[in-house]
């Protein structure tokens, strides 16, 4: 029985308004008490675009909202990586240490659930097939691959198909997708091709940002694929 805070990042609030509810259901099923924090954005869009002052302004609000909590579960791998690895660096010493102390309490949803003692007792079941797209930030900055595999292996009846060259980027890259649209789409094509080849009609990822990007191109490129978040998949497997 832990008390955890839940951070529902801006783009999920906007594009997947039900995601926080799904994440809460899963965490509560694990036996946790969940508080949704008044956080909006980790600052990543501005940070990745080189606008650090703006990123700091926005990130400060998130750290303020999180400061009284000991664990802040975040439903996006890339936002977690931003908070943990980059946000504290936007302040100079000694304030960066205070920021780092809060930032280090952020944990991605997959890693948190995978090491939760209640996971084995959930009795997850969801027959069918999903393709897995692990995001680059989840894979290379959070090293959450094993956690994701572990969680999915707890779902009875679910077959998980990794696409060929699973470690390759989907081409999103945040504002990259807007600033370099031609290159972004060219990279996306290869990823959609690989995901399509798995035969799965649903793709799940710890990062909905990659998925929103892939979903945006799937129809136009003739790939039948629906994107689900990890909390969404787990919530369905609870029932």
């Amino acid at each position: 029985m832990a008390s955890v805070a839940l951070f529902d990042p801006c783009y999920l609030q906007a594009l997947r308004p039900g995601d926080a509810g799904d994440a809460r259901r899963v965490l509560e099923a694990l036996g946790d008490t969940v508080t949704l924090i008044d956080g909006r954005c980790c600052g990543q869009p501005a940070f990745n675009s080189g606008f650090r002052r703006e990123a700091r302004t926005v990130g400060r609000q998130l750290l303020k909202a999180a400061r009284t909590h000991s664990t802040i579960v975040t439903t996006s791998g890339s936002c977690t990586a931003m908070v943990r690895h980059y946000l504290p660096g936007l302040w100079s010493p000694p304030r960066d240490a205070a920021a780092a102390s809060i930032a280090s309490r952020f944990v991605d949803f997959a890693s948190y659930v995978a090491r939760h003692p209640g996971l084995g007792r959930l009795g997850l079941r969801l027959p069918g097939v999903v393709a897995l797209h692990e995001s680059c930030h989840s894979r290379r900055e959070l090293h959450a691959s094993a956690a994701i595999t572990a969680i999915l292996s707890h779902i009875d009846g679910l077959e998980v198909r990794e696409p060929a060259f699973a470690e390759e980027c989907c081409g999103f890259g945040g504002t990259f997708a807007v600033k370099q649209p031609e290159t972004s789409v060219e990279i996306m094509r290869a990823k959609l091709e690989a995901l399509g080849a798995t035969g799965a009609r649903v793709v799940v990822s710890p990062d909905y940002s990659c998925l929103a990007h892939l979903q945006s191109g799937a129809e136009g490129l003739g790939v039948q694929l629906e994107a689900w978040t990890l909390p969404e998949l787990l919530a369905k497997a609870l029932a």
Partner: protein, 584 residues
């Protein structure tokens, strides 16, 4: 001035670079990982440590290098700028009019070939890939595979336009045609110019790797050899050099070592040798703690091989001699007033580059820092973008509560969504932002079709023979080396100083190693005492001697045309090893 986006758009739409690059780079990344997995397990750590040490003690190591080169009778010249480097090389060339040049990225950086030609010097690019891109006139598109963007048909067209009588586009024929042009030219050239992969401070020796044998011809030039190199390419000692070599070829071309690893000692009799060290902004990079570690770079190209943006847009889209992630980092650092400020934005920040870098350069972090620098300097981000980010920051930090923020976010992302939507019928962007809160149907989980993925085949774990001599035999055999009981007739017979089991390499030492004789031989027989076989290249250190050395890893070859391996470029294809005493 064009932007990366303009160039990438053109390369993608007109040339469809990924059709050639994607399969090649996918294979290269998989193969490279497999070669590195052969060990030693700490190879990357050792290489990173050797390079980090060199960066930490750069000037100290250069003082030592200069002294040691002087003892060997080799000139040491330091150029602060590209123009100064070109001037020094022109002066050193003296009245030389025909110059055989091998591949060097720093030579591309200082535009050496065009500058020498403008001064009336006849320069021939002797590397097959460089020869091809020289004909095309657009520069290399990859640091280790310059012509990787061109397929065989295009290469044949380029050669034909230059007067080559070719009735096929077979990479073997094309490669051998260029080889013959090069060999004829080198014969009556006045001087040779090469680069170097690492300069060894403690001994003044210079390590150069190559596959074709054109560098072997260059470094053994009977009259004059000029080496041009970047300031950062120094290492403390032989152990450091071997640590670098141990990861260089595996990371670059998925080879255990290249066909030739030259460790140049004193020049051959009659030859005048000079080293020209190019700073051109490197001291400035060294002084910035955020970027100094980029000077660890060994120019292997692993970062571009793994980069999704490089694979999609190709190397020419970077409009710099340095492309891919390393190019996006060092181009704006080397040319702060140039047109490269947008290159750090040519990345999805997927971190594949940082992951594969064998010397531990945090490339993605540097890309982020360079983006911030570019915004700070006003080199990117017009007034509209600046205003947009300020408005964004204000909106997302209002004390309005999470729900209001979500509404704002939705608004913002809808705006982003419009950006993603096709603006006109002409635009080929297929993306449409997904609608929020799409209902999801669990029935889709059951609607899956069969899995048709073509996943890369992972080779089954090899069971290696226990004896080092047998492991050596296995790896050398893979490279085409034979193990007859007696030396083939008319073979040039040489005695090896040592060999490497994991790479199938043979070490020759002597002062100096006669490279011209080696290349002229129709067959080579190498006598090897099995007791001198070491496991990994790093183990060669005690056998390297004090002067000239040459590590041979199979016969010469090239893969400059579509990565198709063509064996036997300069020098013999027939390599035989005679184990003496023979192994039971």
């Amino acid at each position: 001035m064009t932007s990366f986006r303009d160039r990438a758009r053109r390369e993608i739409a007109r040339e469809h670079r990924s059709a050639v690059l994607q399969p090649i780079m996918r294979k290269l990344v998989v193969d490279s990982r497999a070669i590195l997995a052969r060990g030693p397990a700490d190879a990357r750590d050792r290489a990173a440590a050797a390079r980090a040490d060199a960066v930490d003690r750069l000037e100290e190591l250069h003082r030592r290098l200069r002294e040691q080169l002087a003892l060997r009778g080799v000139g040491y010249h330091r150029a602060a700028t590209a123009a100064e480097a070109v001037d020094i090389i022109r002066r050193l060339l003296g009245d030389a009019r025909r110059v055989a040049k091998s591949k060097s990225m720093v030579a591309e950086e200082i535009a050496l070939t065009p500058n020498l030609r403008a001064a009336g010097v006849d320069v021939l690019e002797t590397d097959i890939g460089e020869y091809i891109v020289d004909l095309e006139g657009r520069g290399p598109s990859h640091i280790t595979a310059p012509a990787i963007h061109l397929n065989r048909a295009r290469i044949r067209d380029l050669l034909a336009r230059a007067g080559a009588p070719l009735d096929t586009d077979d990479p073997v024929v094309l490669s051998q045609y260029i080889r013959d042009v090069v060999a004829r030219y080198v014969q009556d050239s006045d001087a040779a110019i090469t680069g170097t992969n690492t300069a060894i401070a403690s001994s003044g020796r210079l390590a150069i790797v190559e596959n074709e044998g054109n560098v072997a011809l260059g470094v053994s030039h009977p009259r004059k050899h000029i080496i041009v190199t970047g300031l950062e390419k120094v290492v403390a000692d032989e152990a450091g050099a071997l640590a670098v070599l141990q990861v260089l070829a595996p990371s670059a071309t998925a080879q255990p070592l290249t066909a030739f690893t030259h460790i140049l000692g004193s020049p051959p009799p009659g030859q005048e040798r000079h080293v020209v060290v190019v700073d051109n902004g490197r001291s400035r990079i060294l002084a910035d703690p955020r970027y100094r570690d980029v000077l660890r770079c060994i120019r292997c190209g692993a970062c571009m091989n793994a980069c999704p943006v490089y694979r999609a847009a190709g190397g020419l889209a970077y409009a710099s001699p340095y492309m891919g992630p390393i190019g996006a980092v060092i181009s704006p650092l080397l040319w702060p007033h140039g047109d490269h400020a947008d290159l750090p934005f040519a990345s999805t920040l997927c971190c594949a580059c940082t992951e594969v870098c064998p010397v531990g350069i945090p490339l993605h972090r540097m890309l982020l820092d360079l983006r911030a620098d570019a915004v700070e300097r006003g080199a990117v981000g017009g007034r509209a973008e600046r205003a947009a980010w300020r408005a964004w920051a204000a909106a997302f930090s209002l004390p309005t509560g999470a729900r209001a923020a979500a509404a704002l976010a939705r608004l913002g992302l809808r705006g982003g969504g419009r950006l993603l939507r096709p603006l006109s019928a002409r635009r080929a962007d297929p993306r449409v932002l997904p609608e929020p809160a799409e209902p999801h149907d669990p029935a889709l989980l059951a609607a899956a079709g069969p899995d048709r993925s073509e996943r890369p085949r992972t080779a089954p774990a090899e069971v290696l023979p226990p004896a080092p001599a047998d492991r050596f035999r296995l790896r050398a055999g893979e490279l085409g080396v034979t193990f007859p009981s007696a030396a083939p007739a008319s073979a040039l017979e040489l005695t090896a100083a040592a060999a490497v089991a994991s790479t199938g390499s043979v070490l020759l030492t002597g002062s100096p190693v006669d490279r011209r004789a080696l290349l002229a031989a129709t067959a080579v027989a190498l006598r090897l005492d099995p007791a001198t076989i070491v496991e990994h290249p790093a183990g060669l250190e005690p056998y390297l001697g004090r002067d000239d050395a040459l590590i041979l890893t199979g016969p010469s070859r090239t893969a400059d045309i579509e990565k198709v391996i063509v064996r036997g470029i300069h020098g013999s294809q027939e390599y035989a090893v005679l184990l003496e005493p023979p192994v039971a």
